[in-house]
């Protein structure tokens, strides 16, 4: 009985709140599951890979492992993609892989209650609605919650064979 209670509690907390790392891409604010984030680093120039999609900036050396770097701004069709002192790479741990993503700036780690998440409407955008978990209202801001794992592992990202 005790066990059942515990499980129920777990499920409830998960449904209620989850921690998200939020970051900015242009004017938009996105959130990804904090558990997928390995570390945040300053942007460093990657080694270019020929014949790769334009949003794949190349590969970098992360303490001896070769990690591909994806510029999410290019993937999402942001207008300006400049690299300045605020530009950061979020290193993600997805499945067995380590993948870096470039974003304009990292804003916050926030807990987002499940009841504040609204489903994303069907619309014409650079990202498929299936990669969006929902839209969350946090104060005045709207945070787009991304399913980063299925986004990066999707075939059109060209990150996996």
């Amino acid at each position: 009985m005790n066990m059942g209670m515990m499980e129920k509690l777990d499920v409830q907390t998960e449904a209620l709140a989850r921690e998200y790392l939020t970051f900015r891409l242009g004017d938009e604010e996105y959130g990804i599951d904090i558990l997928k984030v390995q570390e945040i680093r300053g942007y460093e120039n990657p080694t270019r890979i020929a014949n790769a999609p334009h949003f794949l900036k190349g590969v970098v050396n992360l303490r001896g492992t070769i990690v591909p770097i994806v510029d999410l701004r290019m993937r999402f069709g942001c207008s300006s993609t400049e690299y300045n002192t605020f530009t950061v790479s979020i290193i993600l741990h997805i499945g067995q892989r380590t993948i870096g993503t470039v974003v304009d700036s990292v804003s916050d780690v926030m807990e987002i209650q499940a009841d504040s998440v609204r489903p994303a409407p069907d619309m014409n955008s650079a990202i498929d609605a299936s990669f969006i978990r929902g839209l969350a209202q946090v104060g005045e801001r709207m945070v787009i919650l991304l399913d980063i794992e299925s986004l990066l592992m999707s075939p059109d990202m060209g990150l996996v064979d």
Partner: protein, 722 residues
């Protein structure tokens, strides 16, 4: 005490022993391999005692371990093998080829069983036929000393009818077993567990302790197993010298045996009726437990027996001080002391760390280059030392992963023997350069391609004995496996003196398959045809080979390891397949070249030469194809700039260096901006986090911490062809 004896087996199997399983599996695997090798080397017509003993020891070690860890099926099969081997080494039977076959098959069955116990799945191994065969061989030429013992021994001793029942079993006899004097009488309880685990061994029940022989434990054993075999099993628990078999009755036989075989113990006459009565009484009283010796009812023994027992004890006395001895394995013990079993992960971790160190060292060296050596003399000399030490360290660490080719070669004698038997051919295998060392990762990956090549040689190459004789060749064909170091690579050759490749047959077959094969093709190009997918020149498909899948896979596998395959053949005289592999996959010598702002690495082993060119030297063919003349030979030019779409900012600059690289018997000239230098690079995998990139075999980390891509020369050469 009763508690100890009843619970020890389950407690031991449940808690203590599981952590040793892995050690047992490894040891058993090694023993099996050794046994197989020795069986193959065994000359049936003139078997050497030492060889037979060695084979026996292998089977014996496996059995002992299996029994201890409770793998009854393994123990039972090895037990039967041991029975046969024991007869062989005592010259009670003469070894025959079928025996070797059965023993080899048993070895295979054991491997399967062990794999199953290890949890790798697989179905239950059916050994009924094997066991039957072995028993038939054991009893075929000798009176049936050993018959299939009924499995009834598994059950605890029946309350009263136990002795009678055991005696009634065919081929069984009852002996009294005496163990001691023991420092700790509980040790003997292990023997009871042993009988429980090896159901084939027979039945054991404790007898009351004798007043005049303190700390000597007595058991009544009903068994069909020879004393020497039981003795061999017991040595895992108690010293050989402490174990004695005393026959129930049969005084003449026993004393004769004891004189003939002093090493195995004493056979003494025991008043049959009295002892049996005592045993029965005892068994009736203490049916569920095996203990209670101390306060058991005194057994009625006569004086003559007592005297004999005392004498026996006196003889055994000097040996008591010895610890539990495994005197038959002195060599193994010596080997263990000088080697260390370490998991591959640990070694790989070490290699990775050293790789990092090499990079850091290279970084330091690069940064210190601009320092004034006069001012920073100490720092500079320190860095020079660091350079040397890192290199030595790297070499030493890499050598841990190197294992001799003999580990690969050793599997072939068996395979070839089976194969030749099946095909009705006579083939001899010669191996050369077994000591040549190769990276463990490579060894694992090269085994399958080599197996295929050897199979091919045996199946397609070597002719039937009659054909060979007709051609004036020796009846027995020879397949040679040779490994040697050549520069930075290892060359493994598979040679045979069979029929060789037929140029005409290959050409006509190729045309049949729709492959463009003009008569002007060079020999080596023709031989290369056999690597085409679906290509087979065998007249008929056998279950060994001939389906045409294989050679292309062989080539693909070897190429993916960074190796090459060359074929040489003379029709009627045999052929030679040479596999050339890099020594290790983890580190290689590279030449760094600059194109625009970017740096690429060419494997140094594929670089033939480099030279400066002027634009006039590059000619075009058909408008776009570009060639360059190098010493009377035109070579296709590959512009790295175009292949990798290198952005260029200094428009005036012209690439002016050609690097001639070679792969898969093709050469291309790679056009680059500059040569930056040579260095050892640690090869990193791109696929672990990313994916395969065209024309790139991997990546490495340069001295400045940046990533440089390593070019796949073979793919560049292929690119030039289309």
């Amino acid at each position: 005490m009763a508690e100890t004896s009843t619970d020890s087996s389950s407690a031991a199997a449940g808690i203590d022993l599981s952590q040793f399983y892995q050690v047992f599996f490894e040891e058993a695997g090694e023993n099996l391999e050794q046994m197989e090798q020795q069986l193959l080397e065994l000359d049936v017509t003139a078997a050497d005692d030492e060889e037979l003993n060695a084979i026996f020891r292998c089977a014996h070690s496996i059995k002992g371990g299996a029994a201890t860890f409770g793998f009854a099926d393994v123990a039972e099969l090895t037990h039967q093998m041991e029975t046969l081997l024991d007869k062989l080494r005592r010259h009670e039977l003469t070894p025959t080829a079928p025996m070797v076959d059965v023993l080899l098959q048993s070895g295979d069955a054991l491997k399967a069983m062990l794999a199953r116990h290890q949890g790798s799945g697989g179905s239950l191994v059916d050994t009924t036929e094997l066991l039957f065969n072995i028993r038939a061989m054991v009893s075929g030429e000798v009176p049936p000393v050993v018959t299939a013992a009924p499995a009834q021994a598994a059950a605890p001793v029946a309350s009263n009818g136990g002795a009678d029942q055991a005696a009634a079993t065919e081929g069984q006899r009852t002996v009294e077993l005496r163990v001691g004097p023991l420092g700790d009488p509980d040790v003997a309880d292990n023997l009871i567990d042993l009988f429980k685990e090896i159901t084939d061994l027979g039945q054991i029940e404790p007898l009351p302790e004798l007043d005049h022989l303190p700390s000597v434990r007595r058991f009544k054993v009903s068994t069909s197993t020879a004393e020497s075999e039981m003795m061999d099993l017991f040595t895992f628990h108690v010293a050989r010298e402490q174990v004695k078999f005393v026959a129930f009755g049969q005084a003449e036989h026993a004393s004769a045996a004891s004189a003939a075989d002093p090493g195995y113990g004493f056979f003494e006459a025991v008043g049959d009726g009295a002892a049996t009565a005592a045993a029965q009484g005892d068994a009736a009283k203490h049916e569920p437990g095996y203990g209670f010796f101390d306060n058991a009812p005194g057994a009625p023994e006569n004086k003559a027996q007592v005297a004999l027992h005392v004498a026996a004890a006196a003889v055994a006395q000097p040996a008591v001080a010895k610890p539990v001895a495994k005197a038959d394995k002195p060599q193994a013990a010596g080997l263990e002391a000088s080697t260390l079993r370490v998991s591959v992960e640990k070694v790989d971790q070490l290699i990775n760390l050293v790789g990092e160190l090499v990079i850091t060292q290279a970084m330091l060296a690069q940064n210190s280059r601009s320092l004034d050596p006069v001012v920073y003399q100490q720092l500079v000399s320190g860095l020079t030392d660091l350079d040397r030490n890192t290199r030595d360290l790297q070499e030493a660490v890499m050598s841990i992963r190197m294992i001799p080719m003999s580990t690969v070669f050793s599997r072939f004698p068996r395979m070839l023997r089976d194969l030749a038997n099946k095909l009705g051919k006579k083939v001899e295998l010669v191996t050369q350069g077994e000591a040549t060392e190769l990276d463990k990762g490579l060894v694992e990956k090269i085994t399958d391609p080599l197996t295929h090549l050897v199979r091919n040689s045996c199946d397609h190459g070597v002719e039937m004995p009659a054909d060979r004789l007709a051609k004036g060749k020796p009846e027995v064909g020879t397949i040679t496996l040779a490994a040697s170091h050549q520069g930075g690579s290892i060359v493994i050759e598979v040679r045979d003196d069979g029929r060789g490749l037929s140029r005409e047959k290959l050409l006509s077959k190729a045309r049949e398959k729709g492959i463009d094969a003009p008569d002007t093709m060079t020999d080596s190009e023709v031989w290369g045809l056999i690597f085409a997918p679906g290509f087979s020149t065998a007249d008929e498909v056998t279950d060994v080979s001939g389906r045409g899948v294989g050679m292309d896979v062989v080539k693909k596998n070897i190429t993916s390891l960074g190796g090459t395959v060359e074929i040489d053949s003379a029709e009627g005289y045999g052929m030679r397949v040479a596999v050339r592999l890099p020594l290790t996959l983890a580190i290689m010598d590279g030449m760094s070249v600059g194109v625009g702002e970017e740096v690429y690495i060419l494997p140094l082993s594929s670089v033939v030469e480099s030279f400066q060119v002027s634009t006039e030297m590059i000619k075009t063919v058909g408008g776009s194809g570009r060639v360059v003349e190098v010493r009377d030979e035109y070579m296709p030019v590959i512009e790295l700039e175009k292949v990798f779409e290198v952005p260029r900012f200094d428009w005036e600059h012209n690439s002016g260096i050609m690097v001639v690289v070679e792969a898969e018997s093709g050469r291309v000239a790679v056009l680059v901006d500059e040569l930056l230098g040579q260095q050892q690079v640690v090869v990193k995998n791109l696929e672990s986090n990313y994916r395969k990139v065209n024309d790139v075999s991997g990546a490495t980390i340069m001295g400045d911490g940046r990533v440089a891509l390593i070019l796949d020369v073979a793919s560049l050469v292929r690119r030039s062809r289309h």
